[in-house]
Structures are given as C-alpha cells and as structure tokens.
C-alpha cells in the first residue's frame, strides 16, 4: 500500500519535507544528548543505524574490523566533546555527520601510520587524551578549510581541487581550457589568495592559527 504522503499536493510536499528535516534534526539532538548523558540504550541505536556503513568504508580502505570499531568510538567521543563545548546543531543528518567524522578520522589514521615509519618515537609518546585533542583541532581545521573552499567560485574550486591534488599544470591547462600554464599559475595564485582571505577572516580560525 502506498504511503499517505505520496498523494499530497505540491504545497503539502514542502510541508512533508520540512517536517522530515525537522524530524532529522530532532533525532540528531536526541543522539547528541544521549552521548553527553552516556545513555547506552540510545547509543545502541546509533550503532544499529550507522556502524555497518563505517565498517564497510574502513574495510574498503585498508583497514580491519578492529580499526572500524576504534574509529567509530573515537568519532562518537569527538562529537560528544564538540557538543559539550559548543552545543552545536547538525544541519544535515546525524548519520551523515558521523560518517564524515569517521571518514576524516580514518584518513588521519592512515596518514599517521605513514608517519610512524619515519617518526615512531614521537607518535608513541602521545597520550590517548592528547591525541584525541589534537585530532579534534585537526578535524576542526579540516572542516573550516573545506567549508571555505565551498564558498569560492566554481571555477576557483575546480582549479584549486586539481592543484591540491598535485595535478601537473599541463593537465590542468587541458582540463580547464586555459591558454597556458602561466595563465593557470596566475589563476591558482588568485584563487588561493581568495581562499586564504576567507579562511583567515572567519572567527573559527582565531583558535586554530596558533597551531
């Protein structure tokens, strides 16, 4: 049987979706509070809904099940601390937000093991709490940079994405249609300048600039 909302009128669809968004936000708030309150019954629901996706992602990206468990727990702790500090509201869904945090933490972990090869002593000496604190600020910085990259023009975003991926200038010329490498260089320079201004003028950067 079709659900009732399939039959609603165009104007009602808007109401339905805004109601859905409201519901998603309420669920997000419930999960955030459950984490802060240490409510294991509701945290089980977070596991039921999200862990399989995170596990799949980690397994597909050079990790094992134990890594997925570890990342998931770390992500929940990161979110708890952030909520304690700022009482923020998640604009997307809790699941999407949690998945992004897990993805970034796993990216960090993969790079950490790369670094371990050359810098094992330093890494070993860091306590769990300090490592979590550093991860917190690194995640914050990463989110701010990505957010600001999203605010510049489409053209700049495209050219900078290629540039940061270390794409050779000759290839950037081909994929963007600019006349020469010199023009691309100048364009990269201007776009980067704009991005830097946006990042540095954001209040959130104040606490990150000393790092």
């Amino acid at each position: 049987m079709c659900k009732k909302w399939y039959y609603v009128t165009h104007s009602n669809i808007k109401v339905y979706f805004s109601a859905s968004i409201k519901k998603i936000k309420i669920m997000g708030d419930i999960f955030l509070k459950a984490l802060v309150d240490g409510d294991s019954r509701k945290i089980i629901l977070i596991y039921n809904k999200n862990f399989s996706f995170v596990k799949k992602f980690v397994l597909q990206n050079k990790g094992g099940i134990a890594d997925a468990e570890d990342i998931f727990q770390k992500a929940l702790l990161q979110i708890t601390v952030r909520y304690k500090k700022e009482e923020f509201q998640i604009n997307t869904s809790f699941s999407a937000y949690l998945f992004t945090v897990c993805k970034n933490l796993w990216r960090r972990e993969l790079n950490k093991s790369k670094n371990k090869v050359t810098n094992s002593e330093v890494i070993e000496l860091v306590s769990e709490e300090r490592d979590n604190s550093l991860a917190y600020l690194e995640l914050e910085r990463q989110e701010l940079f990505v957010e600001k990259l999203g605010e510049i023009s489409e053209n700049c975003k495209k050219i900078l994405t290629l540039f940061f991926a270390k794409t050779p200038y000759s290839e950037i010329v081909e994929s963007t249609g600019y006349n020469s490498e010199t023009v691309v260089r100048q364009r990269v320079f201007k776009c980067k300048k704009k991005l830097t201004e946006l990042i540095k003028s954001d209040v959130k950067y104040n606490s990150l600039k000393e790092l």
Partner: protein
Amino acid sequence: MSLEEDILIEKHLKETLSKSEEKYFSEKMATDNSFREKVIFEKQLFETLSEKDWSFIEETNSKEVETLECIFKSDDLKKTKEAISIAYEEYSKPKKKVLKLSYIAAASVAILIAVYSLLYTTNYSHNELYALYIQPNELRSSIIRGEGNKTKDLTIGETYFNHKDYGKALPIFVKVLPNNKNNASLYLYIAISQIELSKYNEAQATLDNLINSDLIDAEKGYWYKSLLFVKSNKLQEARKQLKVVIKNTYFKHKEAKELLSKLES
C-alpha cells in the same frame, strides 16, 4: 605574498627545489617570520585539501589543546566512553534469527526430552538444582521508560547483570536502591547478585526486606529465598520456604512443588 614567493613555496612542498633554491629557501625560513608563517599555512592548505594527505598538528603549546585534554580526561567523558562500550557490546551480541517452523518443532521436542530427563531421571546436587531453577533472565527490567537520567545507572547495572558480572552489577544496584525502594525487581537483582557472589546472609536480608515490604511483588521473595537456601545447602529451610509458596499459591508455586519433590526424594 608575491607570485615568486608562492612559486618557491609550492616547489618546496612538491619537493622540486633546485640546490640553490633550497639554500635560499632555508635562509629565508630562518630569518623571515612572515615567510615562515606563509609556508606553514600553505602546507596546511596542501595537506588538508588533498584527499590523500592529512594536516597534523606537530608541536604546540596552545591552550586550546590543554583545555581539550581536560575535557577528554573528565569523568563525564569517561561515563560516555563506558556507555559507548556497553552499547557496542550489546550491538555485537549475536542477533536472534527467524527459524522455520519445522526447526522450531524439532528443537522443542529435543528440549522437552532434555528437560524431562533432567527433571525426572537424575539426582542433582543442591548447586545443580539451584542452577536449574534460577532464571535471572525472567526478571522484569527495573528500568522505567521515559525516566532518562534516573535510569542510567540501572541500565549499566542490568547490563553487567545480564553479562553475569555480578561483582560490578551489585554496587550499582545497591547505590540506586534508596531512590528505588518501590521497585521489587531491583531487590531481586540485588539478591541474585548476592547469591551468585556467595553473600548468603546479605541475600537473605535483601529478600526479607522485599517480603516485609508492601510491594505487590513481595511474595516473589519466598521463591527466591527457597533458592537461596538450596544454593547455600540449607535444604531444611528451603523446604520450609517452598511449602509457604505452595500453600499460598505464590509466584512459581508449580515449580515449588517440583523442586520440593526433588528435595524430598
């Protein structure tokens, strides 16, 4: 920043500096603070916005890190950590599967045969009889829905109890009892934990408290008291309690009859 400086930094980050450029770059880094800051920021941009890299904070004395460390070390966060672990344990327990009717029927017959042979064809030690009749999973959860924070400790306690970790469960239950004196299940959780930990006198006191209370489930105390006596090998006392259960048709009076006949055979 000039375009020349930008190109120099980019070459440094891509590790394509010539020897002379490298020398110039090192000198500039040592003498020009503003240039050094630009290099650090550019490195952060590169590492953060490249999908494959990650921008680590290396050495820092930032107060922000100290503040965060305090939060991560706090008791509040330890509580969250514990709740996450409990949730994960629950989540990773094997899930119940839907079985075909034929399997259920076959399994039921097998169980009936096993139970029959267990109950009627064997002689048991007092410990085995206790294990046979105590059914901790039958206890009604003492958690009342919708009471959020108040039930947090109870949830943790019940989780430990369900994992048979009575040593951890008992102090939690005892702690919350003063605020939950109308909760008969809580007395039973405490008494069973005490029995399992061989604290028989304490268990008897707990069950007497339940029996002497005005609670509707107070009568359940007699059945569990008889099991307490079975476990502690005070079989005479156990018989006495079982007779009370049978005579008054209290909770588990049928099982009481069965158990009494076993004790007397």
